[in-house]
């Protein structure tokens, strides 16, 4: 079993839909949870992060962490064609003094007009 599981999709939704992207993980030591967005032929860029459990909102985006279920989610409200990208979850914990994140495979999202 991989440490971080993420459905690669693609997930295709109409413009304006609410999108839910999810990751599960097996390492209960993970403390810091991130979502990166990667446009086609570009490098990933950090979209949101949360520390430990709870919700965090930033505009149309909400990141949610449920440590008891080892499950994290990213919600996108009023999705736009410009949100079409691959979304990678990442999570990290201390390991030998370093904090090297573990990435999911990424979910490809397509928002069609």
């Amino acid at each position: 079993q991989k440490e971080v599981e993420q459905d690669p999709g693609p997930l295709s939704v109409p413009e304006g839909a609410i999108v839910s992207l999810n990751c599960t993980y097996s390492n209960s030591a993970f403390q810091y949870f991130m979502w990166y967005r990667q446009y086609s032929r570009k490098g990933p860029e950090l979209l949101m992060y949360t520390y430990s459990s709870g919700n965090k909102e930033d505009g149309r985006f909400t990141a949610q962490v449920d440590k008891s279920s080892k499950y994290i989610s990213l919600f996108i409200r009023d999705s736009q064609p410009s949100d079409s990208a691959t979304y990678l979850c990442a999570m990290s914990t201390a390991s030998g003094g370093s904090y090297i994140p573990t990435f999911g495979r990424g979910t490809s999202l397509i928002v069609h007009p």
Binding site: P8, Y32, P44, Y49, S98, I100, P101
Partner: protein, 113 residues
């Protein structure tokens, strides 16, 4: 700031050839990383460095070498290229620490024929 820069953007190699992928950052970050990304497979860590003169293996180091003689530069060396090394290579940097953000370069697309 230019951020993280990578050269070349594209390269085609023949089996058995060698090459160096260049990576530089101007953010005075301690940590630097090399990832490869195969279609639908997410990011796999090849090597990372926590500071000049210090490097360590990631998940898939075989067939690659790195060095870190300065804070700014982190070249990745491919010896005896094989078709299995066809991939997109991303360099990233970060300050380090648990609540860390990685900044990615634009990537190098490598094809080995």
């Amino acid at each position: 700031n230019a951020g993280v820069t990578q050269t070349p953007k594209f390269r085609i190699l023949k089996i058995g050839q060698s090459m160096t992928l260049q990576c530089a950052q101007d953010m005075n970050h301690n940590y630097m990383y090399w990832y490869r990304q195969d279609p639908g497979m997410g990011l796999k860590l090849i090597y990372y460095s926590v500071g000049a003169g210090i490097t360590d293996k990631g998940e898939v180091p075989n067939g690659y070498n790195v060095s870190r003689s300065t804070t700014e530069d982190f070249p990745l060396r491919l010896e005896l290229a094989a078709p299995s090394q066809t991939s997109v290579y991303f360099c990233a940097s970060s300050l380090g620490g648990l609540t860390d953000t990685q900044y990615f370069g634009p990537g190098t697309r490598l094809t080995v024929l």
